[in-house]
């Protein structure tokens, strides 16, 4: 299967950079368009507006750095990388974005939480695999 439009999920973790390396390789091999998406999650049910503003500010800083690093990696490999940042629920936002832009492959890093955490909170990785309307590559 030839992929023409690849989306990579960037959360700044080691796993997501491992997945980015894989995405860059695939984009080169298929001559595909490569995009990366980061989603800032603000706290639910906050007690103050300030809590939301500061959480967003911290996420901006974190993703700004991660995007810069991702661009450098892509540039070294000679691949153009389009970066996108949204605010919202991670899974919902990425799925909406895939549908809106018609990506044919989603590449994400495996996030190892404890079994208890996954059972109670659910895993972003599992939810994306389950809900994505395209092929999903999970890089471990």
């Amino acid at each position: 299967m030839v992929h023409k439009k690849i989306l990579h999920g960037l959360d700044g973790s080691k796993g997501s950079f491992k997945a980015l390396e894989e995405s860059i390789e695939l984009a080169k091999r298929y001559g595909a368009e490569l995009h990366t998406v980061s989603v800032e999650e603000v706290p639910h049910y906050p007690g103050t507006v300030g809590e939301v503003i500061e959480a967003k500010h911290a996420a901006n800083g974190k993703f700004g750095q991660a995007m810069q690093q991702a661009r450098e990696l892509a540039q070294k490999a000679g691949v153009e990388l389009h970066c996108h940042v949204f605010t919202g629920h991670e899974v919902k936002t990425i799925i909406e974005f895939i549908k809106e832009k018609g990506f044919d492959l989603l590449v994400i890093g495996f996030m190892g939480h404890s079994a208890l955490y996954d059972r109670v909170m659910g895993s972003t990785c599992h939810s994306l695999v389950r809900l994505a309307p395209c092929a999903v590559l999970v890089v471990k």
Partner: protein, 393 residues
């Protein structure tokens, strides 16, 4: 029983630390988690003590009460200071109308339900009315940010209306239980002098001293807050009333000084609000909740129902369609910080008892969660994904 203030402080800060870690991991606000952690500790420690045959409880000391009170004053000040005066000016007519009915209907509805259906006394019923009249600006703001509606007119209008509702709440809290005596006259007089000059004075301090490590501009704000709060308290009013209004009047000035606001937030979130929210949780009685589940459901329905009676037709009157009117109504049915502040006010002044306090706080928490989930699931207005600072395609 812990004697050492350091050990008591370690216990409380330990709980705050735990709440922060859970909050980061779950993306649920630290305020809500602190209330829950406080509630668990407040109920589990005595239970564990009774199993071990010793009398044990989560210690609240005068200095913890002070820090919690200080936290609630600064929370309210920041809530007032977070308004965008231009937005309020631009949408003043609909926001005043929607915000006012959003306060009035649940205030009257919850007060009547508490008095006639639950047979609470008049003062406890008034506290119920105030605590359940609130709207959580913060919960609404988080939803707006997630949907990008904060950048659209409808989002700005809803936020401005929420500020009006909260103003109604603090005015009611400040006015209903005050002693109408000379202290009140003095409080109003000093407020009338300080409030008009506060923006100019604050701006001047910021221009001259911002960036100094000793933070004179923050001390000036605290000085004004303490004077007004102290006089308000002497009149048996509530210190959060002048705090909210002072926040409102200096909001325009602080908007251009984000660094100062950041410094205030750091101090408040790290040192003060944990004591407030943990205490708010620690005072919840699990037994009262278990026995009062029906009352909790009734008051939640009254709060949301009264918001529907008031806000929905008003929103329609301002030509919002059904979906947006429903969305606005549900978001304005949320509550958290001001609701708990009102309930705490009632408990500390013996206007309500522990079981009534527990009921009100649980209703307030439920009102932060349930209407938000319904609004986001079924009534979210159509919106496109709004990009932040990427270099997107």
């Amino acid at each position: 029983m812990l004697e050492s203030p350091w050990l008591i402080a370690a216990l409380w800060i330990g709980m705050a630390l735990l709440a922060s870690m859970i909050s980061i991991r779950t993306a649920i606000s630290v305020a809500l988690i602190e209330i829950i952690v406080g509630a668990v500790a407040g109920n589990v420690i005595p239970w564990a003590g009774s199993l071990a045959g010793v009398q044990a409880k989560l210690e609240t000391t005068p200095w913890i009460n002070f820090l919690a009170g200080f936290g609630s004053i600064l929370l309210t000040f920041l809530a007032g200071a977070e308004i965008e005066p231009d937005v309020l000016k631009k949408h003043w007519k609909p926001s005043l109308a929607i915000g006012f009915v959003s306060f009035l209907m649940p205030f009257l509805g919850a007060m009547a339900a508490a008095y006639y259906l639950l047979h609470w006394n008049a003062q406890a019923s008034m506290i119920a009315g105030v605590a359940l009249s609130t709207t959580s600006v913060a919960v609404v703001y988080a939803v707006m940010i997630e949907t990008g509606l904060n950048k659209k007119d409808i989002g700005k209008l809803i936020l401005a209306s929420c500020f009006v509702t909260d103003l109604g709440t603090v005015l009611a809290l400040g006015a209903m239980f005050a002693n109408y005596n000379w202290w009140l006259v003095l409080f109003l007089g000093v407020s009338a002098v300080i409030m008009p000059f506060a923006p100019r004075l604050t701006r001047r301090f910021l221009q001259r001293y911002e960036g100094q490590v000793s933070e004179p501009e923050i001390k000036l704000l605290l000085f004004m807050l303490f004077i007004l709060g102290g006089l308000g308290a002497a009149a048996n009013s509530e210190a959060v009333l002048p705090a909210y209004i002072l926040g409102l009047v200096v909001a325009g000035v602080l908007r251009d000084h984000k660094e100062t606001v950041y410094h205030i937030r750091v101090a408040v979130f790290a040192l003060l609000t944990p004591f407030y929210f943990l205490k708010a949780g620690a005072l919840i009685s699990a037994n009262a909740i278990a026995q009062g589940a029906g009352v909790i459901l009734l008051l939640l329905l009254v709060k949301v129902g009264a918001k529907f009676i008031g806000v929905y037709p008003t929103a329609k009157l301002f030509k919002m369609d059904h979906r947006i009117s429903m969305y606005t109504t549900l978001l304005m049915s949320t509550g958290l910080t001001f609701g708990t502040i009102s309930a705490m006010f009632g408990l500390t002044r013996n206007l309500i008892d522990s079981s009534q306090y527990s009921t009100l706080v649980v209703v307030v928490i439920a009102s932060a969660v349930v209407p938000t989930l319904i609004a986001q699931k079924w009534f979210q207005p159509q919106h496109e994904l709004v990009e932040e600072n990427g270099n997107g395609a």
